[in-house]
């Protein structure tokens, strides 16, 4: 297996100290005083958070920290109780999720939503924006949309080749493996020509060996000029590709900064990473017999 590319990390992202809520040189998303509660439980309570443009930001934190809720708030899949949040300078208050997607954001889901009953190609074509054929009266007469559909199909084929799914183009998405469906969801998201790509646990359920190719695709998103925000539990992935890390716990942002520094903060280790990050659990449990002279 050839080794992957080593990503070029971007530095010099923030202004001032790397503290929770610090300002960014080029923010794409700005969140102010955003609160969301479910029943009596405060899921998200963020004073200030700015997501920087053109880089890969990781959002990490224990379960129940509010990461997915924050995600849903940013993409319009949920509405905050209070607060302001904007994308590229435009307020997203009251904007439904499909309009947010039209503005240039696209998200993937933790439980992959590759549409199984559609073919791979149809899945891809669904992603394209501004399709004439999707308007009901023009849909009736191919003359209005045939040419555009062909262009969309060509673009889809290019992306499928890039994600190595082109051989499967006529298969129903249901016949793809879990990992291939993840790739399809990511490729489909790119059909929308997004500015901000939001990935919700893209590595969840993915075989470790496939992780590498998925990571390479995420890195290439940045190289193509897109901004990436992803939620993950896989610390190796975070360390490998993230330029910036935001740590959430109990609904609040508790740390921000480049991965190396953030992941060494004691509070983050205690709440989230665990003390055994670098240790072999076989040693911790005493299952390996460490006999002198016998190394790993």
């Amino acid at each position: 297996m050839s080794s992957s590319k080593k990503p070029q990390k971007t530095t010099d992202i923030h202004i001032g100290d790397a503290v929770p809520g610090c300002k960014k040189k080029d923010p794409m998303v700005v969140i102010d005083h955003v609160k969301k509660s479910f029943g009596g439980l405060t899921a998200v309570d963020v004073e200030h958070l700015e997501i920087p443009s053109g880089v890969i930001t990781a959002l990490i934190g224990p379960n129940g920290a509010g990461k997915t809720t924050l995600f849903n708030l940013l993409t319009g899949f949920d509405t905050p109780d209070t607060g302001n949040w904007s994308f590229m300078g435009t307020s997203l208050s009251g904007v439904p999720s499909f309009k947010v997607a039209q503005m240039g954001q696209v998200r993937t889901f933790q439980l992959t939503k590759a549409l199984s009953l559609l073919t791979v190609t149809d899945n891809m074509k669904l992603g394209a924006k501004g399709q004439n054929g999707e308007s009901i009266f023009r849909a009736l007469f191919p003359g209005f949309w045939k040419k555009q559909d062909e262009e969309i199909e060509a673009k889809a084929m290019e992306l499928l080749k890039r994600f190595k799914l082109d051989a499967k183009k006529d298969d129903f998405a249901a016949s793809l493996s879990g990992g291939q469906r993840k790739l399809l969801e990511m490729a489909r998201a790119l059909m929308t020509d997004p500015t901000l790509v939001m990935l919700d646990e893209p590595m969840a359920g993915v075989n470790p060996a496939l992780t590498q190719s998925l990571l390479d695709h995420v890195i290439s998103l940045k190289e193509d000029g897109m901004t990436v925000l992803f939620v993950e539990h896989d610390m190796h992935m975070v360390r490998h590709i993230a330029d910036w890390v935001v740590v959430m716990a109990e609904g609040q942002v508790v740390a921000e900064g480049p991965p190396e520094t953030v992941m060494k903060e004691q509070a983050v280790i205690d709440a989230y990473l665990g003390a055994h990050q670098e240790t072999d659990l076989g040693e911790v449990t005493g299952r390996i017999n460490i006999i002198k002279g016998e190394g790993k």
Partner: protein, 240 residues
Amino acid sequence: MSETVIEVKDLVAGYLPGVNILNGTNFHADKGELIGIIGPNGAGKSTLLKSIFGLVRVREGSITLNGESIVGLKANQLVTKGVGFIPQNNNVFPSLTIEENLQMGAFQEPGKYSERLDFVISIFEELGKRLKQRAGSLSGGERQMVAMSRALMMDPTVLLLDEPSAGLSPVRQDEAFLRVSDINKAGVTCIMVEQNARRCLQISDRGYVLDQGKDAVVGTGRELLNDPQVIGLYLGTLGT
């Protein structure tokens, strides 16, 4: 020579008619072992576990528990025979308290309840303090703990675990693996299917790498961790 607790031979099983997930899998677990089963998605890891527990119909092959065939037995029958199962999702009753969840675990033999409760709390001290808490209000890692405890209430000799670390943050994942190790040290044979192959193999006595419904690579946990073929195909090099 350790006695074999579970033995699976040439197992063929699947969910949809005509589609086999397992294509002749061979597997065995000896008393007191901690076995790890890893492999790519769709390889049949969960299917193997579910076949053993009677949740998936076996089409060909044999499964024996202490020498006796258990093919065709229903899950509740297997529980009385000493097999416990911890599913990946929906593994607690959210509207019940922790205590009630544990009572559900022991409901086939209520007489054993207090004795088992003491044992379970000795491994999971935290639970003892929160028995009255509603399970639905627990986080993913805490539910994992309750699910494991509930399975232990029937004093199983074999415990089947379906991806115990799934969806958990790193610190909770480590805790889950350490708990499984503790349970195993208390004498329970553990068979664990995992996505986090590295951590799983670090604590396993023996491991199976499943691929396309067959046992592709077999060895001790350490052997598999260091096997370049396994690393290349399944473990990836990121963790190193």
